[in-house]
Amino acid sequence: MFGLPAIIIILAVPVFTALFILLLGTTKYYSKKIGYRLTVITLLILVYLLSADLSTAHSTLLFKELFNEMLIYDTYSTLFILLFILGTFLSLSIGKSYIYKSDIFTPESFSLILFSLFGMILLAMTNELLSAFIALEIASLSVYVLVGIHHHSLRASEAFFKYLLLGSFAGSFYLLGLMLIYAQVGSTHFNQIAMFMYTHPISEIYLIVAGGLLLMITIMFKIAAMPFGAWVLDVYEGASLPITAFMAGTFKIAIFAIALRLFIGIFAQIKDFYDPLIVASAILTLVSGSLLAMVQTNIKRMLAASSIVHSGYLLIGLSSIGEIGTYATQSILFYLIAYFISATGALGILAYISNGVEKEISYDSLKGLGRQHPFLSAALTVFMLSLAGFPSTIGFLGKFYIFTSAIEAGYTLLALLGILAAFVSIYYYFKVISMLYFYEAEGEKVVYGEAYSFLFIMLSSVAVLWGGIGTGLVSFMPGANAITDITHLVIESLYIFSN
């Protein structure tokens, strides 16, 4: 389906559906079923249009004249857009029972999810700093409102205000950095900034270094890396569960879409300035994230804290991107895929269990679920194993690639710290599994309806296992190898000179 019309549809369809749902929502013809189905059908159309483009390495500038070379459509953006769409689709599908039973999903929620998706799609395609900022703001602003849309809950309102104020404050750093880079280069395009740095001596690009530092502050805030990541616990806890799954699984990898492009595209030459900072941030993130995750009693907060730790692993990957090879980039892409499906699934199951009521799910409330709901518990176990990085799951391979690439780049101690954090993470992830199987049930068996949500929980847990299988184990259906091939194509497409 590769071609210009498909890409126009990909850009236009989310916006048009969002506007349609928005306007329909004010009439009497709207019902939650219609809004939900429209959103899901839109996502399925987008997946259908895009999936064929993953098989080749390609790169085109979209509307070169009209958009002034700002948008680039390559395999890199195809992969990320597919991940965003799948992430949104999974959060909505697994959360279907929650969405139908809870009264906080208004027509605005669906259109904001689509607007957020639109912002993320642009973020994956953009090749320029200013449009990247606006795309980032479209995506974040929608997510802020989605967090706060449950405005009868004090906790949600608090989360909304924290997220909005801190997020906007962090965004202002981006603008300052953008200004400094523009002041030096006179352009905001990635390739022109890179060209400027090639042609000028190091003494003339210090302003770009300072500007890039400010851009990194914003990025680190958004991925919840540690000096700037303290907001995560309250915000993830305050948001309703499908939205938390959306934020943790989809929105986080959207930030990495732009961060990776920035690092490979512009900062490759001046990475030596940033490396100590990224390493320091990675250490801080891993240590404090692990400590935070250990002391939580609420599973939602534990998953929020552990998502900080996952940012730490990804920062290890970012610091080991170097001139030597593309192995580190590939490992980050693999890890993002692994993390996205495991986190969406784990939070999705919580949404499924909570049955549309926003309540605290503590460890104790999972007791005995293994007897009552064997399949659901098996799926939750698979997600937890994958998040902890247990062998034979996709999460293990992700961590394995990240750590080996760090060792290859010379950060052996950092890799060891990462492995240590992974061992610590076994403590809080296995606590969930032990609650499932080693305790007697306290309450009556609750029937969770909605076979549709259950189906997608099962499908994603099968995907987690399938992605962890390489040619070494099962030679005829290698999931991990397929992902590695795709990441290879993605990186190849980044180096295509497109016109």
Binding site: V15, L122, S142, Q184, E204
Partner: protein
């Protein structure tokens, strides 16, 4: 000569009013001195001949945003006794200023070293409303259209979050 005097007067005005903004105890004092900061910054734009930025600064910041802030302050109707106790405010401001100072000094020295300092920006070449228009509507067309979506999203957010008002009398 007149220009330099004006520049220094305006800079002093910006610094003093910004300091009042963060150190004032009552929100309304802070908001009023914020107006002075914003207008003085607008004046700096005008000194450079950037008439569009000058107008935008007045229309959006001094006009709309300040009106919003004042409405919020009036709506909350904060009494003196509701204000938080900030016993260490002076100390906090001093230390946080000192913490940011190194970065600021480095930044200023970097900007001073860059070739930009010597480049004059005469108003007939850039900064006028006509030039900005041609840049926005030709080079940054995509960003311009995206801004309308950003505004739309914030509008949806504002309306849907204000819904609770029907419960309040």
């Amino acid at each position: 000569m007149l220009n330099e005097v004006l520049f220094y007067i305006l800079s002093a005005l910006i610094l003093v009013s910004a300091l009042v903004l963060i150190s004032a105890r009552r929100p309304i004092d802070a908001a009023l001195s914020f107006i002075v900061t914003l207008v003085s910054i607008a004046a700096l734009f005008a000194l450079q001949g950037s008439s569009f930025l000058f107008a935008t600064q007045i229309i959006i910041y001094a006009g709309a945003i300040l009106a919003l802030i004042l409405f919020i302050i009036m709506f909350l109707n904060i009494q003196d006794k509701n204000l938080p106790d900030e016993p260490h405010k002076k100390r906090d401001i001093t230390f946080s200023t000192l913490a940011v100072l190194p970065f600021t000094v480095v930044l200023i020295s970097l900007i001073n070293k860059s070739p930009l300092v010597d480049q004059a920006l005469p108003y007939d070449l850039f900064g006028g409303i006509k030039d900005i228009g041609s840049v926005i509507f030709n080079d940054y067309l995509l960003v311009f259209e995206l801004i309308s979506i950003l505004l739309l999203v914030s509008l949806i957010g504002a309306v849907s979050l204000a819904k609770e008002d029907k419960d309040v009398k």
